[in-house]
Every structure is written in C-alpha cells, then in structure tokens.
C-alpha cells in the first residue's frame, strides 16, 4: 500500500494543492445541492454524497489521518446516527402533534407556518437528515474499505 505515496514530490504537490483548493468548493456545492433540492435536481442524497466525496478526496490526497482531523471518528459516529435520527425524529414528531407518521403538516401546531409550507419545510428537514447520514456513511465506508477496517492508514 505504501508505494502509492511514493510519487515525485512535484506531482504530489500539485495534487495536494489542487485538492486543498477544491475541497471547500466541493463542500459548498454539496451544501447547495442539499439546500436547493427543492428547486433543482439534487437533494439530501446527492448532496450528501458530494460532501462525503470531499472528505474522501482529502483522505485520498493527504492520507486518512488528515481527513480524520477534519471529521474525527467520534464525530463521524455521531453523525451516522444523527442522520437517520433526524429523519425518524421528524416522523415521530409529526405523530406527537396528532398527525400521522411523516405527515409534516401536523407540525403546524408547533410553529404556525401553514400546513403546506410545513410540508415544504419538512421535506427540507428530512433532506438534511439524509444528507448528514449519507455524508458520514460514505466517509465511513471509504475509511473502512480502503484501510481494511483498521481506519488508520488508507491507500
């Protein structure tokens, strides 16, 4: 596995610099895809994958340790669970306010925005949940698959 990193210094530098430059843009783009899923192609899943890909890119360019400085294993674990929890939580919340499961319009009783607006906002909420889950899981998958489960050194 080590030989992959034995590139010439110049090549390595170019890759690292460009990745360093690209990653913030990719992340912003990912967020945009999640947030703008209502109006354009995209949504939680696609945005989540893009966000995850940015971390994967970091791991590819700088090694796994570096990517784990941006997102530690512990944070990743919390995000893993947080994503689905947001989704299911929103669903449960709807039932607590007297509606059926995932009936976002019931949340109108929580903050009166109007049932239809709440549907739109509810979709937004769950898209965030999906995004968080997908992002963290994609990173987790990459960490594990590329390190054979030890999650310390990558390719």
């Amino acid at each position: 596995m080590r030989d992959i990193h034995e590139h010439t210094a110049g090549e390595d530098l170019i890759i690292k610099t460009s990745v360093r430059l690209m990653v913030p843009f990719i992340q912003v783009f990912g967020l945009y895809v999640i947030v703008h899923g209502h109006y354009s192609p995209g949504g939680g899943f696609q945005g989540g994958v893009i966000l995850g890909a940015s971390f994967i890119l970091l791991a590819l360019a700088f090694g796994m340790k570096t990517s784990q400085e941006y997102m530690t294993v512990g944070v990743n674990a919390v995000l893993n669970n947080l994503g689905p929890a947001i989704f299911i939580g929103v669903g449960v919340l709807c039932t607590l306010f007297g509606g059926l499961f995932l009936d976002y319009s019931a949340l109108d009783k929580l903050i009166p925005l109007g049932p239809v607006e709440w549907r739109s906002f509810g979709i937004f909420l769950i898209e965030i949940g999906v995004g968080v889950a997908v992002m963290s899981i994609m990173v987790l998958l990459y960490w594990n698959l590329s390190s054979g489960g030890s999650m310390d050194e990558g390719l």
């Binding site: 596995m1 995850g52 998958l141 054979g148 390719l155």
Partner: protein, 81 residues
C-alpha cells in the same frame, strides 16, 4: 430526445458492460464500470430523469468506483476471467 444519440449510447453501454465483465484486470474492470455508469447517467439525463442522472453521476461513477478501487487495492487486481 434524439433516437440516434439514444441508440449510440445504448450500444456503448452494452459494450462497456461486456468489457467490464470480461477484462482480466479488476482495476480496469472497475474503471470501465465507472464509464458504464457515466454513460448510464447520460442516458437518464437524456430521458428527463435529471435527479436519477445526478445521483448516478455522484454514486455510480463517483463513490461506487472509488469503493471498488479501494477494495481492489486492498485485495488483488488479478482475475482469471
């Protein structure tokens, strides 16, 4: 929708699929599979399924290929068929 384009991409897709399962080098196979996914993504975009195309672009051609490559580098590139 342009049927000539459609047919051309479909042919390419079939060729890619055949190559992907017949190439002896697994790394090559997964790269070809990435191309296959990308062509699929074109096909879907052309069919009006923009969301699916976007997803396939990020997943099939992107993350999925990376996973394949990661796993192949951890295991072996060799394949007898």
């Amino acid at each position: 929708m342009i049927w000539q384009l459609d047919l051309m991409i479909l042919t390419l897709v079939v060729i890619c699929a055949l190559v992907a399962i017949n190439i002896k080098d697994l790394l090559g196979a997964s790269v070809v599979f990435g191309i296959y996914s990308f062509l699929m993504c074109l096909l879907w975009a052309e069919m009006g399924a923009v969301d699916v195309a976007f997803t396939e672009a990020t997943v099939g051609a992107g993350v999925s290929t990376i996973f394949f490559i990661a796993a192949i580098l951890r295991t072996t590139r060799r394949s007898r068929d």
